[in-house]
Structures are given as C-alpha cells and as structure tokens.
Amino acid sequence: MNDLWSAIFDFSDYGELIALLRNSIFAGAVLGIAGGLIGVFVMQRDMAFAVHGISELSFAGASAGLLLGLGVVQGAIVGSLVAAALIGLLGSRARDRNSIIAVLMPFGLGIGILCLALFPGRSANKFGLLTGQIVAVDDPRLNSLLIICAIVVVGLAVVWRPLVFASLDADVAIARGVPARWLSLVFMMLLGLTIAVSVQIVGALLVLSILVTPAAAALRLTASPVWVPVLSVVFATVSLVGGILLALGASVPISPYVTTISFLIYLVARVISWQRHRTRRGRITSTTEVVTA
C-alpha cells in the first residue's frame, strides 16, 4: 500500500526536481492559455468529438514521425492539420462531421499502433504519445511549443468576434457577410495546432481534458463573453501546471494528475451551478407563496 502511495505521490528532493522540470512547467502554463482559449470555441461549435478524432490522427502522425525519424513534433503537427482540414472541409454539418470523425479515428489509431510496433526504441517512450508522460521538455521542444501556442493565441484574437458570431448565431452572421466557411477553416487549423502540442504533453487519449473540460466548467459558471475565456484559461492552466507539480517525483505519467484536477474543477463548477439554480428556484417559489397567500 505504502509502495503504491509513494509511486503516485513522492515529494522527496522536490526543489531539485522543480529546477529540472522548469521547462515542463512553463510548457504547461503556455499550453493552458492556448488550450483554454480554443476550448471556448470547441464548446461553442460543439466539436468535442472532433478534438478526440484529431488527436488520434495527431498520434498517428507523431508515431510515423518517430518511426521514420522525421521527428515527433513535426509528425504530430502534420497529422493534426490533415485531420483538421478533412473534418473542416467534409463535415460542415454536425451529422456528417461525426461520421467522418468516427471513420478517421480508428484508422489513425491503427496507423499509430503499427508505427509504434515497428519502432525499435524503448517501449516506455512509445506509449507516452497515447497516455502522456513526464519528460523533461528540452529547449528545442519548448521553443516549438511556444511558437505554436503564440500562433494559436494571436490567430484566435484576430478572428475572435466574427468567430463567436459565426459559431453562436450562424444565420445572422452569414447575412451580415461574415465569411463563416473561411473562419471555420482557420479555426480548424488553429485547433489542429493546439492538439498537436497537447498530444505531446498529456497524450492523445487525454487531450479532451485540457481542450474541453476547462471550457465546459467555465460555461457552467457564467455566460459572460469575458469571463468564459478567462475562467477556461485559468482552469486549463491550473490543471496542467498542478498536474506537472504533483507528478514530479512520482513514477507514473503526468496525465492522470492533469485529468483528475481538470475533472475535479468541472465537478465543483457543476455543484456551484446546481446550488445557484436551486437557490434561484427557491426564491421564485417563495415569492409565489407570498403572492398566493
């Protein structure tokens, strides 16, 4: 029992470890910003399933990149962008989109597993792409992550307003001349980039925990167009950085920590919104009683 516990939580030599994993923590914080922001639109456009589908193809790309020696980062980006473009171009309607994703996803996973099986290297690294791993993010990797996250955040800032318009009020947006198709493609590309970097940190199977759960929790708490993105970014960053800090000394991958924190935040948000709802309804009932009395 004690062994199990120390495998999950081990804070000995914590100070030295933090210094070692500074890059990872920094990467987590930056990814939290990009992921939290793009998650707002994933929710608005109802594309949680697409996120999952793209991350499987990103995994396939990363595995192929590993096998062919082209680089995991490059492979993940190519896989992500191809998947995002396919889903964006072929699946403008929700029903089409879901079936296209469902067709692409197992194919991507299969390719990825094939590439990993053929790869002669150590097996611990391999499954990191699926389930995440705690690795020291080296400087070139950190740089690529910073650049990609910067592209995502700046890109989102530029298209923010028309993208909200097209996502939430499509008919009127199109009547107003908002180029909804273009915006959709731009969004898919930015989403693909975000997923490609997320896969390297939390693993392909768990990308939803930073691209969907934080935004979903934020939406439980507020409908304000300012507070939803702010809270979503805070939740995603807390999940990632908190997960990395907890995982530091442990011998298990980082992802269970990240997913658990992000899930707990969502639970708390649900409880708060449920409480609020109840008090509001309680208030209405009591006023009606006064009126009828």
Binding site: P162, V164, D169, V172, A173, A175, R176, P225
Partner: protein, 287 residues
Amino acid sequence: MTVLRLSGAGLAYGSRHLWSGLDLAVDAGEFVAVLGANGSGKTSLLKVILGQQQLSSGSAELLGERIHGGDRRIGYIPQQKMAEPGTPLRGRDLVGLGVDGHRLGPGWPSRARRRKVDALLESVGASGFASRPIGTLSGGEQQRLRVGQSLAGDPRLLLCDEPLISLDLRHQREVSELIDRQRRERDLGVLFVTHDVNPILGMVDRVLYLANGAFRIGTPDEVLRSEVLSELYQSPIDVIRSRGRIVVVGVPDSSHHHDDHDHADHAGHPHTAGTGGLGTHPTGGAA
C-alpha cells in the same frame, strides 16, 4: 423613396421554377408581408435579397445599387428558433454581435459600444432581461433581442423570416407591434415572411402572395380574396373573414413539408403548417 426593387426577377432550381417575372418595389416606411404555402419560395426570396442566392433572371437592387452579400443597410431577423439552454450569450451579447460581431479583433469592451448596445436594448424594451443568458429567456424576449440586433447597423430595410413562428398570441402581437413601431420611427422598409398574416393584418401596407410559381401583389383586401387565391392556386379556395381574422381554407396539401428543413429544430414548438397558407394559428404553449 424606394429601398428595394426587384425587376422581372425569377428564381429556379434546375427545372423547378419557384417564381418568375416578379416586380416588387418596397418604399421606405412600407410594410410588405410575404405569404404563401411552404415551398413557394418565400425564404429563397429573402436569400436573394441577402445576396446569398443568385436570381435566375431579372435584377434586384437595394437603394439603387445591385445587391451584394453582407450589406449593413439590411437588418435581418432569422426564423424564430429557441436558443438552446446553456448558450454562452447574454441578451446584451446577442445585440452586441449585431453592432460589431462582423469586425476582426477580440472586441474589448468600451463605453461607446456599451452605450450603443444599451440604446438598442432600451428601444426594444429588453433592458430588463439583457444580462440573462438567452437560453433562459422566453421566445418573446428572445425575439425582442433579435429585433434590437437587426437594428444595430442602422438598416434601411428589415427582412423578417417567420419571426413569430412559435410564439403565443400575446407575444406575436408584442413582437409585431415592436417591428411596426420601429419601421415608423426609423422609416424602414419591412419585408415580413409569414405563414399567418393575422398577427400583422392591421399593419401591412401590401401583401406579396406566392403560390404555384405565380404571385399577386396588392393590399390585403385586394389579394386575400377567394377569387384571387383560387385563381392563383388554380383550385377552389375560400377566404373567410371572421372577427377581424382571416382564415384560408382549401389550400392544396401537395406543397407542404417541402421546405421542412427550413423549419428544423422546432421540436416542442408546434406550428400549423398543416392548415396551409394563412390558417388560424392556435394559441401556442404558455409564455
């Protein structure tokens, strides 16, 4: 002053002619209702005016210029459809999208923008519920916001696509009176697509009735008559007037459900397509 002019306009999808030879001029301050059974091309007419659909023949002009997409001088109220609960927009955000939602950039909150949104909310009587998420608002409240949103660009022409479709009678009257007041105050041309003319009967100047690829234009008294509609549908139609309401009986059933895709997402909000044309509209659900 003429706001909208269609000259010899025709629209066909392949071999199917929706209408042709349509001449229609809408003046500033004029309220024109577009009536007709489902599938008669009412919504397509709006798409032409919004620049989303090319005419097969003839021309369409807004304020003397050829129509192009995304013209800010057109205000658009889409088919009434309830916002889903949990939609991350408050009332004032919906109106705000009409103000500057088409512009690039994140749209930082500013005092000027706030003032503009407040003024629009005030003018449509929506200030009281502007901070609530739209998914929690009633159909009538949502349509008030829609009217406010459509006025954000200071339009000259207002296009309304079934704005009353799932509202109960009281809200139908409130929303149509709101649109009527705005067109008088702002001297707007209004093109109002509806399957039930009764809620707006006292406001419309003219009626455009589309059926069977043909049409009639005139005042309600000129168009909504048994002999006119019988000729248009080429089958016997009775127009019955009762207590200031108009009921059309005998519209052929064949063309129904043609554009049901236009009416998708109305689960739980029944409307009376089954009565055809201008049938009486039963009082909807509770407010």
